[in-house]
Amino acid sequence: MAILNRRTLIKTGVAAAALPLIGSRAFAQEKLKIGFVFLGPIGDYGWTWAHNKGREALEAELGGQVETVYVENVAEDASAIPVMRDLAQQGCKLIFTTSYGYMDQTIQVASEFPDVKFEHCTGFKLADNVSVYNSRFHEGRAVLGTIAGMMSKTGTLGYLGSYKVPEVVLGVNSFLLAAQKKNPDAKLKLVFIDSWFDPPKEAAATETLLNLGADIVTTHTDSPAALQISRAARALRLRAGCGHVELCSECPPDRHRGHLGPTLHRARQGASGGHLEVGEHVGRHDRRHGGDVAVQQERTRRRGRRG
């Protein structure tokens, strides 16, 4: 999954189908209740951590207008269904399902609750009340790759991957292609640890990457283990850095950001009583506006498919 620093999105089309998620009425008195379904623990310092930061920022910014609840450690299988259903039954009118693996479950539960809007992260199936959102991570990865290409002494770059899935592969390719623009001889050492979150394994894998000659390591896993390891490996002149979460050279947990953009934007739309239209929303990282909060509308496309 992904990560996102999201910014936002858009949407278009179809207004016909779009439900007035939140109708214009009532919002003054009634808070919008927003539910989040998280893949990992909110303390993972990664994907879920960043999503949760978005949730917190949302409460901070829209305090009086929204109420948020979340459920963490939700497996990406059918057991997510009762969780989503529960959130809907508790009165959530907007539910973020924050991982690809919730796609079919989101579509199913959405069909049971036509008056609840669902925002699914990184999926591709849409329904009348299901939108998907994502970030253009590959753009950030390309920036990282560019830096890595310019800074690497050995020309060997390390990439700590989670699963060999399209999003991750996309990031790997953009990282390497960007690096090779600066250093045509750049090579990439890539490890997939088959897990989003396994700090000891991430740490050991990072050491393995360093061991294989990488002097810059980037990560697409959730914990900051890789960053901490590379940081500790002082023998490398260049500390490795930076995963999908945030571009930063001093990594530890306090510097992660992410996910805020789209989350905020969509919620703001809902809370303000505007229509939330269904579609695919892709955000781009934009540091000019403080990175995580900046949201810009970029593209909207309505697809015909429905879950």
Binding site: P41, F192, D198
Partner: protein, 313 residues
Amino acid sequence: MNWDFLILAIITIVGISTPILLAGLGELVVEKSGILNLGVEGMMLVGAISGFAINVYSGNPWVGVAGAAGAGALSGLLFGFFVLTLRSNQVATGLALTIFGTGLSSLIGLSFVGRIVPQFGSVFPPELARDPVLKVVFGYSPIVYFALLMVVLVAWFLKSTRSGLILRAVGENDLSAHSIGYNVIGVRYAAIAFGGAMAGIGGAYFSLVITPMWAERMTAGRGWIALALVVFASWKAPRLLAGAYFFGILMWLELNAKAGGLSFIPGAQAIPSQFWAAMPYVMTVVVLTLISMRNRAGLNAPACLGKPFLPAT
């Protein structure tokens, strides 16, 4: 292959082996006293969060490690209370301890997410610890040296001290030890507390050394590997050391298999990484079978392991 590669490989392997070495060493002593504590994973997690939390408050990683040891020992004593004093079933109680430790650490950890802690300095002069070659000897966290020291101490304790002899006697034949006049329950309490302390330090190695942060379930099942390790080492401390590094090599091979960087082992890329990941467990079963096949003579499996102590009234 070059020296740098080898040195870094050794450093990685020592690093991933240390927590299972620590926890395994504790469990070794516990099992030697005749008790099977399946709660290692839970005690490690309790140690990980306690060490981290105490480090946050004290600002001193050493105090954190001591706190982790104390918290681990306490959780061990909880297990001991049920198993020894109330004579509950060891297997079920141990599993409950793991579940308990996982939940408790998550709960305590709520307020420690995202905190930063001071880290250990090097025990050796930085020139040594950072020397590209010498760091293979001097470049580790103090806990790594502590673990090695403990291997020596535990081996010496079990082999050469009277207390160690009594501990082994209790695990070998609790009824006889009791009839000679030794305090079986007391010895086992002590062993369990030690086992908990070592598991706690093993857990703290995750939250203070490998990745200085707190994250739920950050020990990621290493407590179970530690249990396997004790059996694999056939209950001998020196073999435990070798076994821990051997398991470390397997874990490292698993990662290398995933990295596709194993060109130095012909054909290794064809072996799925899961093969390496399963190896510690498969080999443990094999070792266990070999142990059981031969006469128990000369073997170290404590005869009372996991059995309740029921002295005649």
